[in-house]
């Protein structure tokens, strides 16, 4: 008797649980769907009413968008070159640092690690006034250098990789390599890097997405429209003066989102695993 009551109760809770999840599912997808649908509708249709069914004005919207100089290809390659460089620098030098902190017993290593843990709690925005003034004084505004090179020092990535190395890296391998005559850099490249691969992949995705989505720093530093990153181009859409083309705006935003969505759906397994592993937030 007890079990049947429990059974009914189970059915009900399962329905409720699936219901809530379905609701959240819709909540996550709906805005994207509206966005994509509106990208295919004309400004007038959008103003007139709301619809879930795509229309036929995508080409028209695209023409409007490109006629306004919304150079998405340019924005894309700008964002891509910055993000790829950032990701590479961040991963390589973070791995180097993490390896150094784990393998070598040098004076000050505890202090450096404490510093890294501390910096994790400092909001990045704290330093941006100083950073901006510094960049201004050395004349590097409107240049990608200040957007890319700070990635060499990424405390969050170092922290994550260090934990990973501690958990997975058999130190005897280093000793063995030394006996074989490998120098320290070679050991790092040949032995540590392959072991770090899964962790690097995880952090790589986050670093890439973080850099791709970075808005404030390029907004402060970049002035030439040709050098604008994708997020900066997107906000230009809102700033148009003489006429608001809603269809064009939606299409522009869609075009910036779709590539990321596709990459995400392909890599979602790794990304989710990465979130679970590190819980690192940008």
């Amino acid at each position: 008797m007890k079990s049947t009551r429990l059974g009914k109760y189970h059915h009900l809770t399962i329905v409720i649980k699936y219901g809530v999840c379905a609701l959240l599912l819709i909540l996550s997808i709906l805005p994207f769907w509206i966005l994509i649908v509106n990208a295919t509708r004309s400004t007038e249709q959008i103003q007139q009413g709301f619809s879930m069914v795509p229309s036929i004005y995508m080409g028209y919207n695209y023409d409007i968008l490109t006629s306004k100089g919304f150079n998405i290809i340019r924005g894309f390659s700008n964002s891509l070159s910055i993000s790829v460089s950032v990701t590479f620098l961040c991963l390589y030098f973070s791995a180097l640092t993490a390896y150094g902190l784990v393998i070598y017993d040098f004076k000050g290593r505890k202090f450096i690690f404490a510093l890294i843990a501390f910096i994790l709690m400092v909001p990045a925005q704290i330093s941006f006034i100083g950073f901006y003034q510094m960049v201004l004084r050395v004349g590097l505004t409107d240049n990608y250098i200040p957007l890319i090179f700070p990635a060499i020092a990424s405390p969050a990535t170092v922290f994550f990789l260090r934990q990973y190395l501690l958990a997975t890296f058999p130190k005897d391998l280093v000793a063995a390599a030394r006996i074989d005559g490998a120098n320290e850099m070679k050991t790092f490249h040949r032995i540590a890097m392959p072991i770090l691969k899964p962790a690097l992949a995880t952090m790589g995705i986050f670093t890439f997405v973080g850099s791709w989505n970075n808005f404030l720093t390029p907004l402060m530093l970049i002035s030439t429209q040709e050098k604008y990153t994708l997020p900066m181009l997107v906000q230009l859409l809102k700033a148009d003066i003489y006429r608001t083309e809603l269809g064009g705006i939606y299409l522009g935003v869609t075009m910036t989102i779709i590539p990321l969505l596709i990459i995400y759906l392909i890599l979602s397994k790794y990304i989710i695993a990465g979130v679970a592993l590190g819980g690192v937030k940008e």
Partner: protein, 318 residues
């Protein structure tokens, strides 16, 4: 969770010393040198420079630093815009974080409950996390058009459903706009929090649940008595990262309404940005506000860590 690792480090250190690897230790400097140099150049120096600027009157086109003592700090605590930005940041963060952690916990509990297996965890995780990877600039524009007045999709839907008799100007309502900003933050982050907490729950020794179940505990009891206490470190981790992130909130409110209506969603970072890049371009005010923000975040993190350590110890003692 750091404590344990630190213990681990100490142990490793001792063993490696015993093995006589001291001659290699100098390579450590070589390996961390690029990080240290970049760190000093791009993070430490700017923070110190910001700190220095907060004692000057640098503004506009000026390049010469004139020191004015602590005047700026005295002025900023009396600046109504700064105080308001501080309040806004907190309000928006709280109304985004409370439902975020609650729903994340709830979902994590559901999806890790071994008695009632919910299917499709992978699909749900993938979709719930999806908003997080999208550029905040795009998200802000998307929501701006969704909630626009009088003919945005949200207004149209609500009128069709007879919830509203006439369109509601969300971006003219302080509460409305704050709720939208908080909702976007929630929407972007609850999936991530859910996944992190799920991982935390899965990391708990299953035999604990097993034992409790044999003792006849209900799933709610198990959640309350076993899961939640053991999740405390990871919850606090989520809390701190969310807080540090929340204090930096910029993209969404900036692109949504630029602070309107009546500065209701002007956050601290927006205040800093506006001081530095609009009006008279008061770098000294922006720098002062940055340092105050730094102190606030550090104090809070310290309190949370203290809190966490105490509870960890309690947990051990029990």
């Amino acid at each position: 969770m750091n404590q344990e690792n630190n213990v681990g480090v100490l142990r490793i250190k001792k063993t490696s010393k015993r093995m006589g690897k001291a001659k290699y230790s100098k390579y450590g400097y070589f390996f961390v040198a690029p990080f240290i140099i970049a760190f000093i150049l791009f993070q430490l120096y700017p923070i110190i420079y910001t700190f220095v600027l907060s004692f000057t009157d640098l503004a506009g086109w000026e390049t010469k630093l004139d020191f004015v003592g602590v005047k700026n700090y005295v002025a900023i605590v009396k600046n109504s815009h700064f105080i308001r930005a501080l309040q806004n940041t907190w309000i928006i963060w709280v109304i985004n974080f409370v439902p975020q952690i609650a729903i994340a916990l709830m979902l994590a509990k559901w999806f890790t409950d071994t008695r009632i297996k919910l299917k499709g965890a992978g699909l749900f995780k993938t979709t719930f996390y999806m908003p997080n990877i999208i550029t905040a600039a795009s998200v802000a524009i998307l929501f701006y058009t969704l909630f626009s007045y009088p003919v945005g999709p949200v207004n149209q839907i609500l009128m069709k459903l007879n919830v509203l008799a006439e369109p509601f100007d969300f971006f003219r309502s302080k509460t409305g706009t704050r709720l939208i900003v908080a909702f976007i933050q929630f929407w972007m982050w609850y999936g991530s929090t859910f996944i992190v907490i799920s991982a935390g729950i899965l990391g708990i020794n299953p035999s604990l649940f097993e034992a409790a179940r044999i003792d006849g505990a209900s799933s709610w009891q198990i959640f309350k008595k076993i899961t939640l206490p053991l999740l405390r470190p990871i919850t606090l981790y989520v809390l701190i990262t969310s807080l540090v992130g929340g204090m930096q909130m910029f993209d969404i409110p900036f692109l949504l309404t630029n602070g309107a209506p009546d500065f209701a969603v002007e956050t601290l970072t927006m205040y800093i940005y506006k001081q530095a890049f609009t009006g008279n371009r008061n770098f000294y005010v922006a720098a002062t506000a940055s340092i105050v923000l730094l102190v606030i975040v550090l104090l809070i993190s310290l309190v949370i860590f203290k809190f966490m350590n105490r509870h960890n110890k309690e947990g051990v003692n029990k």
